[in-house]
Symmetry: D2
Subunit: 241 residues, 4 copies
């Protein structure tokens, strides 16, 4: 049941609108959408504009927050978030420590998987924006902290870092990981990757750096081929305590 | 607290042993491990052999079941499982329908993420082996069914197929997906990918086929370079209802 | 010694001009270039504009014809042309048959390597444009023929096809190749690649299809990383008679 | 016409033999091959063993010297040699300076393309072996010098380095390149690539580092797919004077 203030995606007529269920009205080129009538509706219901255009009600998923969440910078790509989840085996038993919250997109994905997520971001305005995105994703198990990662304490199953990483951050992660837990570090540049790998060797075991090159296959009447542009984003180093 | 029959990973002395906590003893080249003493122990505790070798007790994570679970064939690679989780936004609210259980490795990963997983496998002996792996992973929310995917009913947030896929399977998935839910199809060959894409167009929206080329970066005294071999596995088509 | 009508590249002041040595003058935002004074000059000499800007005289290489040659469509990329040269072992003893001349860029590269090149193009206006590019590259050993590939006769060391390829074209190539010679087929789409491979099996030996994914490494003060976009172009099938 | 001492490839019965035309006899599991009878024969002729097995006479191409030439280490891969040829626009007008001869494979490819090649190798035993390979490839325009690259003088259109490269080597290349000529440096490791790029900036223009990821497409009754292993070799930096 959709409640007042809930984020809703309205899809139809070749358009998508990311709205809040509430009292107001949204004017579009396809007619007026009565957002008050969303309250009490359910996913899959149809909302009809005053002039007969039909929109399907969609309750947003993490993929929608990646597309429509407010951004403070370039968030990690889903392919890389998926790699972190898979290579750490992140699951519903896990307490996850995250740093470099950014817009909170990775934290939203992780919050849908883990028992709890604590995410650190040193820039208060980024942390505040992330908190807003997290609240809209209705994740009660994700806590955004506006502080330096080195201030984090507690014991975690997975630590994920997407920030400028130095030896002290890798050491801090090690100290706050349970035995058998994983550190995952995202680094766009090779020099940063080298810092992470060098800092991990010795204390961590199973240190591996992965690169994911993703491309889309296109299929048209002319035939099937890979998209001519392919996506690289960064390096992900996984290390186990 | 480790209970009798629990799967445990013992790590130390350059060795790993995937054992069951219980009454017996494991003889190794590093000495005898008393498996009875695992009961009541906790992750991170140390088990010492009769001759003083030390092993750390690890409670297995999904990554360990990928490595040590019994196999009936080549399971999906973690990179591809991660892509499915990320591109469907799979999370703790989701009911997931899976088919082509195989050894159950994907179902184990999904079971750690979703509220429930139902997984279909037409070969009874494969389904039985998967059930064993799932039980060892202590996932009460994953149900393995030894039946054809077309026999599945109910309504799901995500449908994942890793099997020989025809038009009727894509149609069946569409009929059992909630509005806004995702179909994810893994296909090793291009011809199969084409069948999935052609069957999805029209009924599904947002049909995209992804290919992940993964490689590992190696770092030694000689320098940093990509591993000379790189891994391709298959194509993953994601489609949204 | 530069002769009247020769194509010349003038490089300087952050500009490049692809001009013809001759009687006229080129007006640029860096001043007037006296093209008559190019005649008799040599590569590396400096041409000074009336207001003192300096341009270095460059005698164009095949790479410059790729950049500045007139185009009738998208030419093959140098990485793919290089692959054809390397995988056929093209060299100064070879007679090369080329079809799908297009703008003649591949023929220009091949003409700089082989003893002779005959290139077929069924669209006369494309062949005429290619002939112009070839003449400007001063390649006397390259003959552009405005005719269908199936009209080609003679015996060649290498046959290269960049066109819509059917079984009959592969058969025709086989019939006009010397023993030990190579066929190289460029196909952007997978369906076309399959036609080539299926047509080659049986008559040719050593049939291999290659895909080159090229990316550029970028290096700035922020660090070293692959360019975020990567280039795929097509599939190249090499088969040996 | 095949002369005494010429390298010949005999292909047939699922076998390949890389032999020298001459007086002796080669005993194989398919019968005895009379190598004397090769003298005066031509490519494509058939040589029949005493017991009726038939072998086709092939005059080796650069691709065959890559496969059968004697090796002192891992030679550059054809894909990378092709990239150097294409990105420098190497052609029959060019004088090429090469260093890090190794087994001479790259020099053999270049010798089939350029007017002349001079190749430096500091280890005399490697240079001697390369000289043998070059002689067998019947390339009179390739000179192998057993000396340090810094001893090279003259003026060249293309300089190619496949060796441990320092700033002084890049400077030396610059000093011996004609205006408009290209330097091409092959480096397996990222740290070496960085040295080359940093040394090139400033003096050279158009500095670009390329990486070629090659994979083979496989096609069987089960379907079409990329080979599961993909090949990376190194980075190639191209810079223009």
């Amino acid at each position: 049941m959709i409640e007042p203030g809930d984020r809703i995606l309205l899809v139809g007529e070749g358009r998508e609108f990311f709205v809040k269920a509430g009292q107001n009205t949204l004017s579009t080129d396809k007619g007026q959408l009565d957002l008050a009538s969303l309250v009490g509706a359910a996913a899959g219901d149809i909302l009809t504009t005053h002039n007969g255009s039909k929109f399907t009600i969609r309750v947003p998923r993490p993929t929608d927050f990646f597309t429509y969440g407010k951004r403070s910078g370039a968030p990690m790509l889903p392919k890389d978030i998926g790699l972190v989840i898979a290579y750490t085996g992140m699951n519903h038993n896990d307490h996850v420590l995250d740093a470099g919250t950014g817009s909170g997109i990775a934290a939203i994905y992780f919050g849908g998987v883990a028992k709890s997520v604590r995410t650190y971001e040193v820039r208060p305005e980024f942390s505040a924006l992330a908190q807003k995105n997290i609240a809209e994703a209705k994740l009660k198990n994700v806590e955004a902290v506006a502080a330096d990662f080195l201030a984090a304490d507690g014991l975690f199953d997975v630590v994920h870092l997407d920030m400028q990483i130095q030896q002290e951050h890798v050491d801090h992660a090690f100290n706050h990981l349970k035995s058998g837990g994983y550190l995952a570090c995202y680094t766009p540049f090779l020099e940063q990757m080298a810092i992470v790998v060098d800092a991990s060797y010795g204390q961590f075991s199973e240190v591996h750096t992965h690169e994911l090159i993703e491309r889309e296959m296109t299929r048209s009447k002319r035939g099937t081929r890979p998209s001519t542009s392919i996506c690289h984003s960064g390096y992900i180093t996984i290390a186990r305590k």
